[in-house]
């Protein structure tokens, strides 16, 4: 089964466009990514620009409305994700626990819907 580990960095909702993660943290994360890759579980990963550089398209009343970031209403925003393939939810959680995340970060572990026949 596939799981997405969604990184939610506290404060990222307010980060300025072009904010880059600290190189030391990047090096640590790359080591972690390597660990996932060496274990044969990593399918894909990406880091996202802050929401201040993003756009929200909402559909209230059935009409798309476009709004530029940052979004004052957002309390938690996605900073990036890992897509992994493992045998159980517990295994996904175990991998999430190994992430060298900092004090203000949260990882949400979510199972990806399986297609019939998967």
């Amino acid at each position: 089964m596939r799981f997405m580990m969604i990184m939610i960095p506290g404060g990222y909702e307010k980060a300025a466009p072009g904010t880059m993660p600290d190189p030391e943290r990047v090096a640590e994360m790359m080591k972690y990514n390597d660990e996932l890759r060496k274990a044969g579980v990593l399918l894909a990963l990406d880091g996202l620009h802050p929401p201040s550089a993003g756009v929200r398209v909402s559909f209230k009343g059935g009409t798309p409305a476009v709004k530029d970031g940052p979004f004052a209403e957002a309390k938690e925003v996605v900073g990036g994700y890992w897509l992994i393939q493992v045998k159980s939810k517990e295994e996904a959680v175990e991998w999430a626990k190994r992430c060298p995340a900092s004090d203000n970060e949260v990882i949400e572990v979510r199972q990806v819907h399986d297609f019939p026949g998967d």
């Binding site: 890759r37 399918l43 159980s88 517990e90 295994e91 019939p116 026949g117």
Partner: protein
């Protein structure tokens, strides 16, 4: 196993722990026992004390301590039991080496040794498969038995015997080098691909552990691609497996009936796996002076993966790839596939000419795909009666009921609409 959380840790760590201990005791059977001791300790302590911050290091430390205790004890009592005297003869050097904290790539080296040992040619194919799944895939004997539709005692015995064979043959816990490497690597890749196919050909009604085998194989392949990143055929095999599994959603219909490649809904192909497969293929081709059999098969699979629709397939390229494959690993099956590709690229009569030559090949007697392919080409040439009899012949040769239905259906369709 009592706790799913501990089970998850074990799944991640077991192969590394076994490999790390095998480096000390030089016997993978003994190494597995010692690793299991560590698991038992974890099952006793973790539920009350909690899972340690670094569970892998914890397990490794316990298992290695047990290993060193055992070796010291063996030395002291100078027991000359053959299985242990072999191990203790190498202890001094390894003991010192292992006082240093294990670096990550050292564990990688140990894992690679474990893979090569579990797939050692001194073992039968069945034994290599069972041992690989047990030691590297982290599957229990019961899981392997269920996946292979065998009784559990059979698999248990097979594993015990395999370990004994390795000990008796004094197979060193080493990764092969130089000239030996190529042959040994072939053995490893063969086992991984065999596990993959075992799972991939399982049908939807089977126990889920059977199809899960192909994911186990893919994971092993991906691990091996990191450990032996300079070996083109490893990437070739991974590419082949990634691309094949990208079609898993498309290859069967709603009632489990097989759907042939060219008739599959390509929108259901998993593009993430396709991209991963193409990237692995690129690595394989970059590393290789001459493309090996897995890389070539992956290159053929990639031709299909790249085609947005079945009629956009580059059949001429596929013909060339099969020709190259036939040169390095000649087989009538490859020739038959080449004939199919020729039929698509250069017309049915060109394909039929090749198939007719193959009809004389004794190795293909009883192989249902030969009349099936021939029937297909005859139908395209409007030779309906011959086509019907070939499909009927093919149907009588296959044991797979779904495949038989498909063949009989084709024969029936031609009889009813001979001019289509």
């Amino acid at each position: 196993m009592t706790s799913p959380a501990i089970e998850a840790v074990w799944r991640i760590e077991s192969a590394r722990v076994i490999a790390g201990v095998a480096r000390i005791v030089r016997d993978i059977g003994l190494a597995e026992d010692l690793a299991n001791d560590a698991l038992v300790a974890a099952l006793e302590q973790w539920p009350t004390e909690g899972i340690p911050r670094n569970p892998g290091a914890w397990l490794m430390a316990i298992a290695r301590r047990r290993a060193l205790d055992l070796l010291r004890w063996n030395k002291r009592t100078e027991r000359k039991h053959q299985e242990y005297s072999w191990a203790s003869s190498t202890v001094a050097e390894d003991y010192v080496a292992n006082l240093n904290s294990l670096m990550d790539d050292e564990i990688g080296d140990d894992l690679l040794r474990l893979i090569f040992t579990a797939c050692h040619p001194v073992l039968s194919t069945d034994a290599r498969v069972a041992l690989t799944l047990r030691l590297l895939g982290g599957l229990t004997t019961a899981e392997i038995a269920r996946a292979f539709l065998s009784p559990e005692p059979t698999i248990a015995q097979r594993i015990v015997r395999a370990k004994r064979t390795l000990a008796e043959a004094r197979v060193p816990f080493e990764a092969p080098r130089g000239a030996e490497l190529a042959a040994r690597l072939t053995s490893v890749l063969e086992i991984i691909y065999l596990i993959f196919n075992e799972g991939y050909t399982a049908s939807a009604g089977d126990d889920w552990l059977r199809p899960a085998l192909y994911e186990d194989a893919l994971r092993l392949g991906r691990i091996l691609a990191e450990l032996a990143s300079g070996e083109p055929e490893v990437h070739g095999l991974v590419a082949l497996m990634e691309i094949q599994s990208s079609r898993s959603r498309a290859r069967t219909g709603p009632s489990g009936e097989p759907i042939l490649l060219l008739e599959q809904d390509r929108g259901l192909w998993d593009q993430l796996l396709v991209r991963r497969g193409l990237a692995s293929l690129e690595r394989a081709e970059r590393l290789a002076n001459q493309r090996g059999p897995y890389t070539l098969q992956a290159a053929i699979a990639a031709c299909h993966a790249r085609a947005v629709a079945a009629d956009a397939t580059d059949w001429r390229r596929i013909v060339d790839l099969y020709s190259e494959l036939g040169e390095i690993s000649p087989s009538p099956i490859v020739e038959l596939n080449r004939a199919v590709a020729v039929g698509m690229a250069y017309g049915a009569s060109a394909g039929l000419e090749l198939v007719d030559k193959l009809c004389a090949d004794a190795r293909l007697i009883g192989y249902h795909l030969l009349p099936s392919v021939r029937g297909d080409l005859l139908a395209k040439l409007g030779r309906s009666e011959e086509a019907v009899s070939e499909f009927a012949r093919a149907a009588s040769m296959t044991r797979n009921t779904r495949e038989r239905d498909l063949l009989l259906e084709r024969a029936r369709a031609i009889t009813e609409y001979p001019n289509r």
